[in-house]
Amino acid sequence: MSDVSRQVTIDGNEATAYVAYRVNEVCAIYPITPSSPMAELADEWSAKGVTNIWGNVPEVIEMQSEGGAAGTVHGALQSGSLTTTFTASQGLMLMLPNMYKIAGELSCAVFHVAARSLAAQALSIFGDHSDVMAARTTGFALLASGSVQEAHDMALIAQAVSMQTRLPFLHFFDGFRTSHEVNKINLLSDEQIRAMIDDKLLHAHRERALSPDTPFVRGTAQNPDVYFQGRETVTPFYAQTPANCQEAMDRFAGLTGRQYNIFEYHGAADADRIVVVMGSAAATVRETVDVLSKRGEKVAVLEVRLYRPFDSRRFAACIPDTARRIAVLDRTKEPGAPGEPLFQDVASSIMEAHSDGAMSTLPRVIGGRYGLSSKEFTPAMAAAVFQELAAEHPKRSFTVGINDDVSGSSLEYDPNFLPDESGLTQALFIGLGSDGTVGANKNSIKIIGESTDLHAQGFFVYDSKKSGAITVSHLRFGPDPINKPYLISRADFVACHQYQFVDRPGLLDSAREGATVLLNCPLPADSVWQALSRPVQDALISKGLRLFVIDATSVARECGIGSRINTIMQACFFSLSGVLPEDVAIAKIKSAIEKSYARKGGNLVQKNFAAVDAALSHLREVEIPATTSSTRELPGVVPDDAPDFVRRVTAKMMMGLGDEIPVSEMPVDGTFPSATSRWEKRNISDRVAEWDEDLCVQCGNCSFVCPHSVIRARFLHKDHLKRAPESFKSAPINARGFPETRYALQVYAEDCTGCELCVEACPVQDPNDSERRAINMSAQSGDKSGDKSATRQDVAFFESLPINDRSHLDFARVQGTQFLQPLFEFSGACAGCGETPYVRLLSQLFGDRLMVANATGCSSIYGGNLPTTPWTVNQDGRGPAWSNSLFEDNAEFGLGMRISVDKQTSLAWSLLRGLQEKLPEDLVRELIEAPQILESDIALQRERVGRLKVLLLALEDPLSESLLSVADHLVRRSVWLVGGDGWAYDIGSGGLDHVLASGRDVNVLVLDTEVYSNTGGQMSKATPTAATAKFASAGKRVGKKDLAMQAISYGNVYVAQVAMGANPQQTLLALREAEAYPGPSLVLAYSHCIAHGIDMTKGLEQQKRAVASAYWPLIRYNPVLRQAGHNPFVLDSPRPSISLKDYAYRELRYMLLTRTHPDEAEQLMTLAQEMVDLRWRNYEELASQRAEDFQPVRSTNN
C-alpha cells in the first residue's frame, strides 16, 4: 500500500508523542530536557480529550521523579494498561531499577527516550547515547531512530513488536538533533496505526494483569536454587525478537511504503570499508558514502536500528565478504573499556561469524567516538573516518570532531568536504531569544512545509543564557526530503536580526560565495558600509556577498508593534531568498499573522500586516565597494588583563569558538575557576539603571533587590575622589558625624539587564516629578558596539576604592548590607529574576566561608553553565565554593559536605590539641573556644588561623603538616543547600526530609517559583491551587504542600518563609538567623518568575501582594526561642489586606484558567481563598501560643 497520509511539519518529539499517545492508555512521566515536550503534548491532548486508537482518552500523570514515573508505569503495566513514558539522561538512570523489573516480567511497553548526555565531569542537556547505553543491560529492547520521520515510524514499530514479543522497548533518538529538529514528515493515519496493532495482543496483555478474579503472585523473592534458572526463562523471547521486529518493519513497509531494516546496509555491495553507526549520524554517513562512491571508492554504511537484542548473525550477514576494514562509531564513552558498546558488539559478532565460518575473512575493526553532547558530526568527519580506514595503520580507538591533543585519538578532517547541496536553499538567522526570530522561523518552516510541495527542515541553537540569549536558526528548504542532521556550514542566506551581533566573530563564516546577507540596522543604507568592521567588509568583498539592510526596529515601532521585528525580518527573508514567489509568501505570512493575533484584538492583525508591507518598502541594498575602507578590527571579547584561563579558554567559548578548544585546555576533572562572569560584558540592555545622587536616601534597597548584582555601594573618604573620573558620582554620606565620608553607588551598566526592579524598590519620589526615583532607567551611554569608556572608567575607579571592612558594617539592616561585596554577580539569569537576589544576598552575608550544594535547575544553570559563571571571589581570593551534583540528591550532597566539614574541623581541633605544647597556649585556646558568630569574631579567627599557619610552617613536627592541611576549617564554614521547588518539594523531597531530620548544621534555601522553571513551567507540589501549569492545564486542584509546617513538626529545625519584595528586612533577618542556628535550617523564599506570567518589572509588587493576601505569610520558627522559653513561631506578616484574587489575577498562570475553564477557575479560586484563610488562622493561633505548646528541643550542637 502506498502512503496516502497527510504531510505535517513537526519536530521529533511531537512525531514520537503523536504515535505513543495513540497506542497507549496510561502515561506516567517526569519532565526532563530534551524529552519534556513529548509528555507536555500528551498532557495537552489528554486535557483536550483527544482519544487513542481505541477511542479512549489516555491518562497522563506527572510524577515526583523519573523513579516515581517508572514505578507508576510498572504498576500500570501490571494492572493491564498499555503504558508509556518519555524521558532522557538522568531520568533514564532513575528508571533503571524498574526497567529490570519490567523486562524481567516480560511486560510490553515502550519508553521513548530523547537520548542525552549523562552528568559526568559536567551536566549537559545535549544529545548522545550515554544514557541509552547505560540501559542496555536492563533487558529492554533498544530501537534507534535517525530522523523525525523515523522517530514517528519507529514509535509504532516498537509498540507493535513489544506487544507481540512481550519485550519492553526503549525507542530512542538523538536529543535536540532529532527531538527538536523540525521537518516535513508523512503522518501515520489512525488506520495505519490500527493495522500495525493487534487487539488480541492488547487483550493478552490485559489477561496477564493482576486481578483478584484470577489471583496470582508476581515479584517473588527467589533463592540460589532457582533464581538463575528463572533468569534464563526469557532467552527464547529475546531470540525471536529481531525476527519479529524485521517482520513488523516489513509489514509497516506494506502499509506506508517506507521500508526499514533492523540493520540497514547502504553503499557498494562490494565495499572494502564500512562504517557502523546508530542514530541520526547514519544519515550523515549515508550522504558521505554517496559522495565517496561517486568518486569510485568502495565504501558503505551499516546502520544499526535494533541494537538490543543484538542479532549477531543477521548483523554479520550484512557485511560483504569484500569488507577489509570496519569502523564502529559510538556516540558515548565508556572509560576504561576495551571499546565502546557498539564497537564491542560488532567486534564480537564478526569474530563469532568468522569463527563459525559464516564470514570468510576477518575484517579489521576499529572504534571511534563522535558527537558527544550534540557535538557536530558532519560529512567531513564521516569522510575522515573512511579515510582512516584506508590508512595503513588505522587508529584502533579514535575520536572525530574534536582535537584530542592529549591522547592523540582524534582524526584530522577536511572541513571543505561537503555533499551535494544543489537545489537546496540554506538560511541562517542570528537573533536574540526575546526577539521572536525562532518563532518566526518555525512559522516559515510551517508555511513552506505545509502549504507547498517543498520540504523544510529547521534546527534552533541557543546559547546558555536565560537573558539576552543568542539564537541561531538553521533552515533548509528544497524540493526533496531533507535528511541532513547537521548544522548549516554554507548558507545561501544569512540574516543578522540584531545589529549588536555584527561584530560577533565568524558572523559570515558560514555564508557561501555569493550569498545574501540581511542586516537589521539602525543606520541608513548609505552609512552602513563605513560602520562595518574591516573583517566584515573583507568577508563581504572576498565572498562576493550581497548586503541588504532594514531598520526593522524603527519599522516595528512606527507600525505600533513595539519591538517585535520578527515578521518584518521574515517578510524580508521571503522577498530576498526567493524560496516562494514574493506575493505568495506575503499572503501566507499574513494568514499566519491573522491566526496568531486574531484573538488578541483586531488592530494587532492590521498593525502586523502594515509592518509586513512596510518591511519590503524599507528594504535597501548596500553597494559593496571593491576594497575595504574600515580600519576597525573586531573588538576583543575579554581585556588583556583577564586571567590566562579566561583568555585562552573562556574567551573562545564566549566567541562561539568552543569547538576549537583542544582536550589539553580542558580541566581534567570538571574544575573551573570562579569569578569569570565579570569578563563577559554582554551589554544586553539599551536601558540601564542610572543613579540620581541628589535624590538618593542611601537606603540600599536597589542593590538589595538587583538580580544581577550590578548595583554596588561603597562609602569612602572624600580624598579618594581626587583621582576619580569626571563622570564618577558620589554624595555626602547620609549619616551624622562623618563629614568627610562620601557615598558612592555604582551601576555596572554593561552587565545591567534593564529589569527595573531597582526602580520599583526605590522608596524615593522626586517632588517635582512623581515618576522619577532616585534610581531610574535611562539609555546606556554609547551604542552597542560603541564607546563604553566612561562607564568602564567609572566601574574601574569604583573597583579600585577600598572595600568596606565587613567587621564594621551593620549586617542587621538592609542599609548595611549594600556595602557587602556580592560574591555572586552577572549571572545569565532572566532579567528581573526573583531567585538571584536571595542567592546574591547569601554570597554577601557568608560568601567568604560559604559552601553551596546546588540542586540542578535554574540556579545550577545560571550558577554554573559555561562559558562564564557568576560565583566569584573577594579581595583575599576567598569566595563561595559551589558544586552541583544532581537534581534528586542535593540535600544528601549538601549533608555530605557538612559532615565532611565537621569531620575536618574536628580533626583540626584534635591535631591542634596534639600540638598545643609547641604552640602558644592562648592561641590554641582561642582557636578552639573563641566564638564565631559576629563578623568581627570571624575576622579575628581568620587572623588567628593565619598566625597558626606561620607557626606550623616553622614547626618540625609530623603533625604540623597534617594540621596545615585542615587548618582553614578552624574558621566556621557555612554550608547551604540551594535549589528550587522541583527539588525540595518533589524529586529531592525524601532526601531533604531526611537531612532536616538529621539535626546537622545545614542551611537550606528553597527558591520557590512554584513550578519547574528551568524546564518550562511544569507543575510541582509547590504549585498553588487554582493556578495552571503544564500538567495542570485545567488548574491545580490540590493545595500546595506546606513544607514549612512539615519542617516545623520536627521541632529542632529553624524555618522561615520570606519574600524579599514584601519585607527585605525580614529576609535578611531570616537568613542570618538560619545561618547562626547550629542545627538544620530551612528558608523558603518566594521567587517571582517568568513562569508566573507576569510583567517582570512588577515582580516585587507581586511579592508584596502575595504577602498582603496572606497567600505567602512571612514566618520564622526559631527553636532557640523555644529553648529559651519563648514562643518559637513568629508571624511577621500583617493581617491580610487584600483578597487572593487581587494577588492572583495579576498573573497569567491564574488568569489562563479563567479563560479556558471559567467555572472551574471560580470554584478553585474560592477553594484557594478558603485554604489561605484557614492557614492564616492556623498561623495566627500558632503565633499566639506558649513555648510549651511546641515540640521541646534539645540542643542541636554537634
Partner: protein, 336 residues
C-alpha cells in the same frame, strides 16, 4: 407589549416585562447568573462593562510575557499550557452575549467603556454582531487635566455618541455622570447625536486615602439609598422633556426606591448593589414590594403612575428647584 402585565415597560424601543433592570456589574459575567436574573423577574440585563483599556493592557502584557518566555532558551520553548488558547476579554465578552441571548428572552444590553475612537466603533460593531439588543456607553473620563475646558469634555461625549450611533443600528444608551455643567443641555445634545436612552448617573471612581500606609485605597463601596436624590431630581427634571428613554440608577436597595424613580419619570430602574447585598433573587422581593404598593395605591400599571411626580406633571415645581433648597437650608438653621 403584554397588556396583561401591569409592570410591562418600554426602554429604548425594547419591550421589557419589568422596569427593573440589572445594571452593569460583574454579576453578569456568568451566564448562569443572567439566567437567574431573568428567573427573578428582571426586565433586562446590562452586562458588565467591556473596558477597552483593560483589553489593551492585557494584550500588551501578553505580548510582553510572550516575548520573554517563548523560544528563548534551549530547555524551555514556552511556559504555559495552551497559552495560545488564551482569549482576550473582548472574545469572552462577545461569547457571553451570544450565550446569554441563547438562554434568556429578556433584552441583553452590552456596556462599553472605550478609550480610543476606533475602540468605541470597533467594539460596538462587534457587540452588535454578537447579538446584543442595545448598547450602553459607559464613558469614564475624569478631566483631571486643568487645560481641558468643560465645553471640550462635552464635545467629546457627544462625539462618542455620534460615532457609535453612526456605526451600529442598535439603540444606544448613554450613561452619564452628574458632574457635567449643564446636565439638561448636554443630555439633549446627546439625544440629538442619536442616543436612545440616558442612564442617570454613573458613580465615578472616588478613591479614599489610607492614612496609615500613606497610599490611595480603592475599595469598592456599594451605593446606598441616600444617594438616590440627585438622580431622582434629574429624572424628574428630564421626564417628558427629552426624546429618549430614561434609566435611573444609584441607590436602589428595595421597592421603595424603584417606586420613587418611577414616580419621578424613569422608564426603567437599575440596581446592582442590592443584588450584591441580598442576592440576585432580591429582584423578586423588589417586584413584590412594587406590586404590593401598586395594589395599595390601586395603580393598574406602571404607566399609570410613571412620572406623576416629575417636574412636568406637578403644579409646584419649586420642590425641585432653588426655592426648595432655600427652604431646606432655613429649616436646618432653625434646627428642625
Amino acid at each position: 407589549m403584554n397588556s396583561s402585565n401591569p409592570i410591562a415597560t418600554r426602554y429604548m424601543g425594547l419591550d421589557l416585562r419589568s422596569p427593573l433592570v440589572v445594571s452593569a456589574c460583574p454579576l453578569s459575567s456568568n451566564v448562569e447568573n443572567i439566567v437567574r436574573m431573568e428567573d427573578s423577574g428582571a426586565g433586562a440585563v446590562v452586562m458588565f462593562s467591556l473596558f477597552e483599556e483593560q483589553i489593551r493592557e492585557e494584550a500588551r502584557l501578553l505580548e510582553k510575557i510572550g516575548e520573554s518566555t517563548t523560544n528563548s532558551f534551549a530547555e524551555a520553548g514556552d511556559f504555559f499550557p495552551a497559552a495560545d488558547a488564551y482569549e482576550l476579554g473582548s472574545t469572552r465578552y462577545l461569547e457571553l452575549i451570544r450565550q446569554a441571548k441563547e438562554r434568556v428572552d429578556m433584552p441583553v444590553i452590552a456596556s462599553l467603556n472605550g478609550c480610543t475612537p476606533e475602540g468605541w466603533i470597533d467594539y460596538a460593531t462587534q457587540i452588535e454582531q454578537a447579538g446584543a439588543d442595545a448598547i450602553e456607553l459607559n464613558i469614564f473620563f475624569i478631566p483631571a487635566d486643568l487645560e481641558i475646558a468643560g465645553a471640550e469634555v462635552e464635545r467629546r461625549y457627544i462625539q462618542i455618541v455620534h460615532q457609535v450611533c453612526e456605526a451600529v443600528r442598535l439603540p444606544v444608551a448613554m450613561k452619564i455622570n452628574p458632574y457635567l455643567s449643564a446636565t439638561g443641555h448636554i443630555v439633549r445634545s446627546m439625544v440629538d447625536a442619536g442616543a436612545a436612552g440616558l442612564v442617570l448617573f454613573n458613580r465615578l471612581y472616588q478613591p479614599d486615602l489610607d492614612t496609615e500606609r500613606l497610599k490611595i485605597s480603592n475599595d469598592l463601596r456599594l451605593s446606598e439609598p441616600n444617594e438616590i436624590r440627585l438622580p431622582l431630581m434629574w429624572i424628574a427634571a428630564l421626564h417628558g422633556r427629552v426624546n429618549a428613554s430614561l434609566a435611573a440608577t444609584t441607590g436602589v436597595q428595595g421597592g421603595e426606591e424603584v417606586i420613587k424613580y418611577l414616580l419621578a419619570g424613569a422608564d426603567v430602574v437599575m440596581t446592582a448593589s442590592s443584588l450584591y447585598k441580598h442576592g440576585i433573587e432580591h429582584l423578586r422581593t423588589m417586584h413584590n414590594q412594587l406590586a404590593a404598593w401598586m395594589e395599595r395605591k390601586q395603580f393598574q400599571s406602571v404607566d399609570n403612575f410613571r412620572g406623576i411626580l416629575s417636574q412636568r406633571n406637578i403644579a409646584d415645581t419649586t420642590g425641585f428647584e432653588r426655592a426648595n433648597y432655600i427652604r431646606i437650608l432655613r429649616k436646618a438653621k432653625e434646627g428642625s
